[in-house]
Symmetry: C2
Subunit: 338 residues, 2 copies
């Protein structure tokens, strides 16, 4: 429906606007891009693009700026993903290689992404749902007080205190620990419930209550803690947002502080492949003037969590997408190694 040239015009508008942050006019366009036609022709094309809702004028007699719909078309049809330069790739690898534990990996990733894209970075901790159990440990802190420690293959460690009604002997504890581990180690979290279902029955009558308590805490940890954690960084980049500051930045900062909101945002994105949500496509109203680029990452072929950046709709999509994808890949590698 739109001629080849009109698409070209749209691409040029997006590129120029992203670069200059100012409405772009027909004359400037023809000067900066070899479109092969005169400004007048471009004006006609622009009128058509505006008619279709891809671009808009802030006010009469100003240049055009892309609308959310325009960016959408740009991202879907016109823009590729810009691969990083090899020095950049090396820098990423070096930077991430120094990480010592999971917190450090996530922390470094956030800083890296923020620096690379000059935007706000969001990194979700590897999810518990997709991971497998590396080890379950039970400690007796006091006769009727246990601690459950869960170690995952992604390096995450969760611990829970358990108060039992009745004291639990050290031998029973060792027994439970051994049986528990033999059943769940190496298994997926989602499989654990049915694997331990009949475990209480194999214990003495006296201990069954405690065993059940322990198991229910374990299952709670698996399920409830699917409520994920995440880390954000690069909020200082928000100051490059625009000139009409306080109004724009405030709701964004508020949204970013609500990790629940961000987790929902990440949850809405596709599990595999890259997702770009532009402006009003974001449900949360604080983020309607931002775009969110996310991608899943994981230690194997399957994504265990997501990461991405939040920036103005007027962002360098190809570059941002390239950086996000590359970082996700390297983080995946790091996780696989550890």
């Amino acid at each position: 429906m739109l001629s080849e040239r009109r698409l070209e015009v749209l691409r040029a508008i997006v590129q120029d606007y992203v670069g200059t942050e100012e409405p772009v006019g027909s004359k400037a366009l023809t000067e900066r891009h070899q479109l092969g036609v005169s400004p007048a022709t471009v004006r006609n094309d622009m009128a058509a693009l505006e008619e279709e809702g891809f671009i808009a004028q802030p006010h009469t007699s100003a240049g055009r700026i892309p609308t959310d719909k325009g960016y959408r078309l740009f991202v879907d049809k016109l823009a590729g993903v810009k691969p990083l330069s090899s020095p950049e790739r090396r820098a990423i690898q070096n930077f991430l290689d120094g990480a010592v534990d999971l917190d450090d990996v996530v922390g470094r990733t956030v800083r890296l992404l923020a620096q690379l894209t000059r935007q706000v970075a969001v990194v979700q901790y590897p999810s518990l749902t997709r991971s497998t159990v590396r080890h379950v440990e039970l400690l007796a802190l006091a006769p009727a007080r246990l601690m459950l420690v869960l170690i995952t293959d992604t390096g995450r460690v969760e611990q829970r205190l358990i108060d039992c009604q009745t004291p639990f002997s050290e031998t029973s504890l060792a027994d439970l620990r051994a049986r528990l581990n033999s059943r769940v180690v190496g298994r997926r979290f989602t499989d654990v419930p049915q694997l331990v279902q009949d475990l209480p029955e194999s214990f003495e009558q006296d201990d069954r209550g405690t065993v059940s308590t322990v198991l229910s805490v374990l299952l709670e940890t698996l399920v409830e803690e699917t409520e994920e954690r995440l880390m954000i960084g690069g909020t200082a980049n928000l100051t490059r947002f625009g000139h009409d500051f306080p109004l724009t930045i405030r709701p964004v900062l508020e949204a970013l502080e609500e990790h629940v909101v961000l987790l929902k945002l990440l949850g809405e994105a596709k599990d595999s492949g890259m997702t770009v949500r532009i402006g009003h496509e974001n449900a949360h109203e604080g983020l309607t003037s931002t775009s969110v680029v996310t991608v899943g990452y994981g230690s194997g072929d399957e994504a265990v969590a997501k990461l991405g950046v939040v920036g103005p709709t007027r962002m360098d999509y190809p570059g941002t997408m390239g950086a996000v994808r590359a970082v996700a890949r390297y983080v995946g590698q790091i996780l696989a190694e550890s």
Copy 2:
């Protein structure tokens, strides 16, 4: 050196400026406060205060605003700490009481402080140096791979992976675990090194290497991890900073993202009692237009960490100090209970 009334004038200026965010003139002052003298007299006092460097004019023929030195005098001599209302106290307690683990306590505290003071809140995790050991656990993940889990009285849990050169038998492990715990449980971190010093000698020749490795990892955890963690929140409140936004807010956001900077900041504060650092008193240049109010908190009488808020020098000092102190107290209680 300054008469009683001049101090009163300074107090009035600070209060008005904090309330209105606008330079305050002599006439407005006499109208809003019962100083008992005329504007002309106040003008003379203001001239004297300006001479001494406590207040300044942004430009000729404007009202006066307090300088850092003026705020300093205000905080030291003129302002008390405003206690919270009892509904506020109840709200704090209710809010903090719902916390389930240490992360949750710290998270809730940050949100609470940010909300209460309407500023940026910073909460340091309870320090390892001052705390005592609740339990040390050793798990064999693989024949030559151990995991060390350290649980503190403040609810903090640290874990470390240990690769041993030689396999370590389950009995030796149990032995080490038992001896280790009998020596260090309930002890201060600082005392641990000498308490475990002679431990390797009591083991078989074959195991000594591994025992030493384990101990050195334990000591590392104690010492090296004195490098603290912290959590911040309420950055959206920065938008209430001023009208000259981008310039002011940017360096602050940058400083806040550098946890190292914040930890240094907290480290410079007094260990006991409240510390208020005003404007240029803060070493970090991003924070020279902010004031930082901090106080130590702990589960007992001794402070194990600090918390505080970062806000514009033009802040409500009595109210902020009251909120910070109250929150610190309640957090201390919560930690003592758990």
